[in-house]
Symmetry: C2
Subunit: 422 residues, 2 copies
């Protein structure tokens, strides 16, 4: 068979007919005919695991609404008006409502960006704070986790009676799924905690995290959100065009769990007996800009490939490995042990380190090939891959190593796919 990649710059491959081949891609999501506002309003009226927000608030309630930043697709402007309506219904006073942008360690959002995120009207009517992760005075210690870690989070949480997280739920390599209490931690946590969050996530096998709601990472998130007093979440699940398909309002754990179950039915792809296959081919679509993004496809593969398989990553990467994080190329992808040494020696920040292990742990246990017109062969080698000028050359070498009857698994939309072995 001949398989065409979704890239002009990368020629198709011909897989000889002697190979059994399975081709997968992400599920089509059936768009909702309902207006976004109706979906959100219906969800607010029937919260999961708690009473309606209008029953919780009163005129004196100090209310804090957390929203994610522009790097996330949540259409908060379609959620916030109905949420404010629900709070108003309970008698909440507008002057007691504030917004906090959960930046993690991203840059502060500008006034224009805030207006685009939560709606121009809301942006002018309400006080909107950017999370100050770099300012110790803006943080407060909310206690310690069981193992002793201090929980440093934005002080505004402390100054609020009702805290509501607005976000979206999708498979996430470090948290299992986005959404829920993640808007608290790492959303409004300290610099240190954001690094720790990412770094810790690569200490667990990827298949026990990606697309799994209840995992050790989420346990910590839930604990921290609870300590910070997160009252409720309003989380949406989006389709491929970032339109709202479903909304989950309610208890930060219960509503999130239900949202994850729904997200799973949309995004999870069941891959038949991957342990029996020896050659895997994956693209990085739609995360094709650089390899920092594209590593998501390696996380997906990590969930299903057996040891010693040949994995062929196919990606254009017009911006190369990573302009923002040059250390990835300087250090190369490394396994957990080697990367830990670099982190402990203070030679690598933890966010970069987590990206390095996401690639490195796959390279460590497989025969990893990379085909990428945006990255030079020398750099590809330095990262830890075997470089090939085209996908066909990579496949030919895979066949030379694995034999002409080896089973091949092809995964399309590797940047979004959430595969599960069955």
């Amino acid at each position: 068979m001949r398989y065409c990649f979704p890239y002009d710059s990368i020629a198709p491959i011909e897989i000889p007919s002697s190979h059994p081949v399975d081709v997968y891609t992400v599920q089509s999501i059936e768009a909702s005919r309902q207006q976004a506002e109706e979906i959100v309003a219906a969800s607010l009226a029937h919260p999961i695991g708690m009473p309606r927000l209008s029953q919780l608030v009163h005129g004196g309630s100090r209310i804090l609404i957390l929203v994610d930043d522009l790097s996330r697709p949540t259409p908060a402007h379609e959620i916030v008006p109905a949420l404010l309506g629900e709070l108003g219904r309970g008698g909440a006073s507008e002057s007691n409502i504030r917004f906090l942008i959960a930046l993690g360690t991203h840059r502060a959002m500008t006034a224009e960006e805030i207006a685009a995120k939560i709606g121009a009207q809301q942006a002018t009517r309400f006080q909107v704070l950017n999370h100050q992760w770099h300012d110790p005075a803006a943080l407060h210690a909310y206690g310690r986790l069981d193992e002793g870690t201090e929980v440093l989070l934005n002080r505004a949480l402390l100054e609020s009676d009702v805290v509501i997280g607005v976000g979206s739920i999708a498979p996430h390599p470090a948290a299992g799924f986005s959404g829920g209490g993640k808007i608290i931690a790492p959303g409004v946590a300290s610099d240190e905690a954001v690094g720790e969050f990412h770094w810790r996530s690569v200490h667990y096998p990827q298949k026990e995290v990606l697309g799994v709601r209840d995992n050790p990472m989420r346990q910590r998130i839930d604990a921290m959100a609870h300590m910070a007093g997160l009252t409720a979440i309003v989380n949406v699940v989006l389709d491929g065009e970032n339109k709202i398909v479903r909304c989950f309002t309610g208890h930060p754990v219960e509503a999130h769990r239900e949202g994850c179950r729904f997200s799973q039915t949309l995004y999870q792809v069941e891959v038949d007996r991957p342990a029996d296959a020896g050659i895997f081919i994956i693209d990085t679509h739609p995360l094709d800009q650089d390899l920092w993004q594209g590593v998501k496809a390696m996380c997906a593969l990590e969930c299903i490939v057996p040891d010693d398989a040949v994995v062929i990553i196919v990606t254009p990467c017009p911006e190369g490995v990573s302009r923002q994080h040059p250390d990835v190329l300087a250090v190369g992808y490394q396994g957990l042990a080697a990367t830990t040494e670099l982190v402990n020696a203070g030679r690598l920040d933890k966010v970069t380190a987590h990206n390095i292990v996401q690639g490195g742990r796959l390279i460590e246990r497989t025969q990893a090939f990379l085909v990428s017109p945006g990255i030079e062969a020398g750099d590809i080698q330095r990262l830890g891959f075997t470089p090939f000028a085209c996908a066909q050359d990579a496949l030919d070498e895979a066949i030379r190593r694995k034999g002409s009857r080896e089973r091949v698994i092809l995964l399309g939309m590797g940047g979004e796919i959430c595969p599960k072995a069955v």
Copy 2:
């Protein structure tokens, strides 16, 4: 090989290894790192084939800005502020600027929808008209086309000195590409003209229209836009998430032609020697809701399949054939000749008739199979297809008819793909 469709409800197929198979899907579009506003502003500053708008307008200019409606993905709210800035730079007076929503024959947009489309600020600051296609008093005859057709369009065009069309450019089965003068006709044309536009489009071979800028349909559009005094367009090309990738400002023909060239590089997929293949399999993703939408995949196939090929359409259609247009199922897909009789007898409106021919002309000259859990076998037969309970059964029958070595072409994202035989 085993191929998995992007639908939970439709089981994968196994294609025996004796068949040469080619697999295609749509190209990945590399997102722009530039902000939408910057892309639009740069385009306004360097118009194609005409001077800057700020040089054309003055304080007394009566300006009309046409925008498409909510059924189109154009993010007008990201375009209009910069456009107003450009007009203001030329001295245009705010009180002389009006908006007109190019509804075709869709329902009028509500105040909330208008605010979402063009931005809340603009919606309150400017007069916004919905196109009144059903009100003869709102229309004006702008002249006749060469062959005699009277050009009836919204009267507001007549009352304006400068008319600017804001829209987007993507492959379109009836116009070749959307955008350009299409916002005038059928955008603000009479009921009759909208029907005529769709109906006329199926009188040309699909491969001479879809993804082709200069075609007989576009010639008429350009002529009508010229008669109506369309001054300029501001058209964007969007990525898969409806984000602005590029903007084309300028002369309604010149700028549109350049935009189409760019759109083509993104959306066109070159299919290798389709005339040599006897079995075609296509899904309808992302137009999966009903067969009225999904017919787009049949238009795509129509461009490349040879006569007598077996075509297998695979689509979930949770809403069946079409709730809004029951005549499709009542009449069934028909070829042009039979449908023309029904139109001439006044038994079928032209918009429905065009959908019927889009399916019918493919069925007429191929062996057309349909696999759709959302449509009953009896209805599938009534439409003109051979029904199959699953894709594998359809493939097995195709192999029985075409032989065990027949070449197979598989097209993913049939609702969006724009294939061209090479």
